[in-house]
Symmetry: C2
Subunit: 447 residues, 2 copies
C-alpha cells in the first residue's frame, strides 16, 4: 500500500520504512516462513510500504533441510537478536516453553513486537505475556497457535467481537484426527495406525501430547480466552485422550449412527463455562464428523450470527507460516503507523469466569460394559443405572464374545456426570463385569 | 477494554470517550443492529473504553415493527445526521444505491467513518468510495456485505494477507440455495418452490436479483477485489441465474453423482482472473454440495494455507447485524486511538488484472439435448461434438419422453467454452433437436 500522508508517521522509533525481523526457530515452520517471505516479498513490501527483511535467525539445531543459501543470517546467541535495536519484530517458531518464554519476554521488554505459533507457551503463560505486552506497548500475534492456517482467532476476536459465543466444537489435533479417521474409515487398531502414522511423518516420534489431549487443551485454552474474554488456565480443562478408544467402540458408535472424534469443547451458559477435550460421539450425518485426516475444524455458535464453521489444515509448515505471515502484515502495518495496541485480550481485567467442574457436567453417555455371558446381566446393570437416575436411551447386546466377555453397549439420556460415574463404579464392582466400563460422552448438536 | 495510557489519546477531534452513531435504515438489519447494541452495550463500551450511543436514526419508511420505545431518535432529514459534528460513525443499512451513495459520500467528506452492508453500492461504486475514504482519512467497514455473519472478508484481507488465493467457490445467495436445495432434496419445480419461499418470507416479493445471479455477482466483485487486491467491476462477471435449471437437470445430475448449486467462482491462474456466477454441477460427495438452505459457504484455496472453508448464515437480520457490530468495534477502536486507516483495499493503485473472457474459459460441461425419438440422433450429436474437439466423458439416454422429446445427457471432458458453444449452436440447428440445449458447467474440485 502506498501511504501518501507519511508526514504524520512517527519515525522517532527508528522504524522509518524498514521492518527487520529476528526469527527464532528454523525447522519446518520457520523455514516455511522464510520461504513465503522470499516468494511474496514484493507484494508484502508494497502492502506495508516498507522494506521487510529477516535480519537474523537463531535456532537450536533444528534446521530446515530444504533451504540453503541463507547467507550469514544465523547467529549463535539469542541476544544477538534480542539486543539488536534495529529489529522491530521477533517471530518465534521454536515451540516449547524454555527458552522461548525467556526470549519472548526479553524481546517485549526491549520494545519489540512478537509473533508466535507457540500454543504451549501461550496456554501456560499467555496471560503474563499479554500483561507484559500491554506494559511495554508491544504488539503480539498468535493466529498460528490454533488451527494452523485457519483464521479462527481473528474471526472470534474481531469478526464476532460484537456477538456472544455460546459454544465451540473443535477438532484441533491433526494426529488424533488422522488416527481416529483411519480407524473409522479403514478399520484397524489404535497402535497399528499410530505406528504407520509415525512412519509416514503424520505423528511425532513422541506423540503423547497429541494423543493424550494436551495439545488440544493448549489450543482450547487460547481459544476460550478469546471466545469468552475470560481468564482461563490449563488446569481448568477436563482432558481425556484417545488411547482408550478401541475399534470395538468405533463399530458400536457406527451402529448407533455416530462417529468418534477427539473434540475440544467450549460452552457458555451465561453462568459457567465448560472447557473440555475428550473423544466424543457425534452424529455421522453432521458435517463435523466428516472432517477427516489432518484437517482441523471449528464449529461454533454465536448468539446473533448463529452457527459458523471454519475448516482447513491445522498443521504443516506452509499453512502455519501463512497464518504467521498474516499476523506479520497486520502488526507490520501497526508498527509503520506507530499505533498502540488495543486488543481486548491484552486487558488485565479479563472476565473472571466460573468453570464448570467435571461432576456438574450434564451429557448423554455411551457406556460399553464387558460382561459375563450369563442370564440376568442386563437386569443388574439397568437396576443400578435406574437407582441412580440414569435413564437409558438405547441398548445393543451382541452374541459374540470379545476377549472372553460379551460387550453390552448402552446410551443414556442426559445425565449428571457425578451420578453417572457413581453408578458405573457400582456396576464395575459386580462380579459379572469383567473389565473397566468404557465411558464416552455424546454430543448430538455440534452446530 | 480498559486503556490505562489515556494521556496519549488524541482528543482534539472531539471524540473523547464517546462514539456517537448515526443509523441509516431501520428495517430488519437496522433494527437488529439497534437491538444488539441494546443487549451488549455494557460489554461493547468496556471493549472500547467509550460511551457508545445511537444518536440519530434516519429511515425512509421501512421500520422494524418489533422495536418500539426508541424515544425521539428518528430524524426526518438525512442532513440532521450528516451535518451533526458529534456523530463519528454512520452505519448504513438502507441498501440500494440511491440515496445511500449520496449519504455515505457526504458522511465521509464530513469526516465520519462508515460501516455498511450495502453490496450493490460497493460492487458498483466501491472503488470510488474507497478513494474518498483514503482522501478524507475515514475508516470503512463492510464485512456484512458478503456472507452475512460469516467473517469471510477479514479472513481474506487479514488472515490470508500474506498468502495468495488461487480459487474461491462460494454459495452466496440464500434464496437461490434454498430453492435449489428444496428441488434437490424434496423434488418439485422451480416456480412452485419459489412461490412457497415467498409465502414463507425466504424470498423477496421481487426475487429477480437473487435468482438471476446479480446479488451473487455483487458479492463476488467485493470478494474478488479483496482476494486478489484487484480492480474488478460488475461488468467483468459472467452471470447466469438459476431460472433455467429444471427438475430434470437436478435428477440427471444426481444420477451422475452431482448436485446443482448456484456458485460464485473466483480463479486466479497468475495471468488471468476468472469471475463468474452460474448454476454448477459439483460432486454430491463434496462438503460444499451439502451446504443447504439459507446457509452460505466459502471454499477457498490458498497457495500456502491450502483449502479453507467457512460456512454460516448468509443473511438474516441478527446474523448480518452481528457482522456490522464486529466492524463497529474494530473501527470504534481506531477512532478512540486516533488511528489512520491503512487497509490495502483503500489503495488507489490496486493491481490491474486481466479478466478471462467467457470464450476463453476451460471447463467440463453438462449438456441436455431435447431430441426426437429416432435412430441416429446420437450419432449426429456426437459427430458435431467430435468435429469441434469436444470430448465426451459420459452419456445418459433414457427411453421416456418429456414434452414430446427424449432427453440425451452428455458430460464432456475439459473443453474450451467458445468451441463448446459453437458446437451446441450447430446441434441446435439439427432438425432432430426440438428445443434449446441446456448447458451447465461442472466443477469437480471445489476444495
Amino acid at each position: 500500500m502506498e501511504l501518501k500522508n507519511m508526514e504524520n508517521k512517527d519515525i522517532s522509533k527508528g522504524v522509518g520504512n524498514k521492518i527487520n525481523i529476528g526469527l527464532f526457530g528454523f525447522g519446518t515452520v520457520g523455514g516455511s516462513f522464510y520461504r513465503i517471505l522470499d516468494i511474496r516479498k514484493k507484494e508484502i513490501e508494497a502492502m506495508l510500504s516498507a522494506d521487510v527483511t529477516i535480519k537474523k535467525i537463531f535456532t537450536r539445531g533444528n534446521r530446515n533441510p530444504s533451504i540453503d543459501n541463507i547467507g550469514n543470517l544465523m547467529v549463535n546467541n539469542a541476544d544477538d537478536i534480542l539486543n539488536d535495536k534495529s529489529i522491530n519484530v521477533i517471530v518465534e517458531l521454536m515451540g516449547g516453553i524454555d527458552p522461548a518464554k525467556e526470549y519472548i519476554e526479553k524481546a517485549i521488554k526491549n520494545g519489540k513486537s512478537v509473533i508466535t505459533a507457540n500454543k504451549a507457551l501461550l496456554a501456560e503463560h499467555g496471560e503474563g505475556i499479554f500483561k507484559l505486552c500491554k506494559k511495554h506497548n508491544a504488539h503480539i500475534g498468535f493466529e498460528a497457535a490454533v488451527g494452523g492456517g485457519i483464521p479462527i482467532l481473528r474471526s472470534i476476536k474481531n469478526g464476532l467481537a460484537g456477538d456472544s459465543i455460546t459454544s465451540v466444537f473443535s477438532i484441533i489435533n491433526g494426529t488424533s484426527n488422522y488416527i481416529l479417521s483411519k480407524m473409522t474409515n479403514e478399520g484397524g487398531k489404535f497402535d497399528d495406525i499410530l505406528k504407520k502414522a509415525q512412519e509416514k511423518g503424520y505423528a511425532e516420534a513422541d506423540p503423547s501430547f497429541d494423543i493424550n489431549g494436551i495439545d488440544s487443551a493448549h489450543k482450547l485454552v487460547i481459544l476460550g480466552r478469546l471466545a469468552f474474554a475470560a481468564s482461563i488456565s490449563l488446569k481448568d480443562v477436563i482432558i481425556e485422550g484417545i488411547k482408550e478408544v478401541s475399534d470395538i467402540d468405533i463399530c458400536f458408535a457406527r451402529d448407533l449412527g455416530y462417529k468418534i472424534k477427539l473434540l475440544g469443547i467450549l460452552k457458555n451458559d451465561d453462568s459457567k463455562i465448560e472447557i473440555r477435550v475428550h473423544p466424543t460421539l457425534i452424529p455421522s450425518a453432521s458435517l463435523l464428523s466428516n472432517v477427516d485426516g489432518v484437517f482441523n475444524a471449528f464449529f461454533l455458535n454465536a448468539k446473533f450470527a448463529g452457527p459458523i464453521s471454519l475448516t482447513g489444515y491445522g498443521a504443516g509448515g506452509m499453512a502455519t507460516a501463512s497464518a504467521v505471515m498474516g499476523d506479520f502484515i497486520e502488526i507490520g502495518g501497526k508498527i509503520i503507523n506507530s499505533e498502540k495496541h488495543h486488543d481486548i485480550f491484552l486487558n488485565e481485567s479479563s472476565n473472571k469466569v466460573q468453570i464448570k467442574r467435571k461432576k456438574d457436567i450434564i451429557s448423554r453417555y455411551y457406556l460399553r460394559f464387558s460382561a459375563m455371558d450369563r442370564p440376568g446381566v442386563l437386569a443388574k446393570i439397568s437396576k443400578i443405572l435406574g437407582d441412580n437416575s440414569i435413564s437409558i436411551s438405547s441398548m445393543i447386546q451382541q452374541g459374540r464374545k470379545i476377549d472372553g466377555s460379551v460387550p453390552i453397549v448402552i446410551t443414556t439420556h442426559e445425565a449428571n456426570e457425578e451420578e453417572l460415574l457413581k453408578s458405573i463404579e457400582l456396576c464395575d464392582k459386580l462380579d459379572i463385569i469383567l473389565a473397566k466400563t468404557m465411558i464416552l460422552r455424546i454430543e448430538d448438536n455440534v452446530n
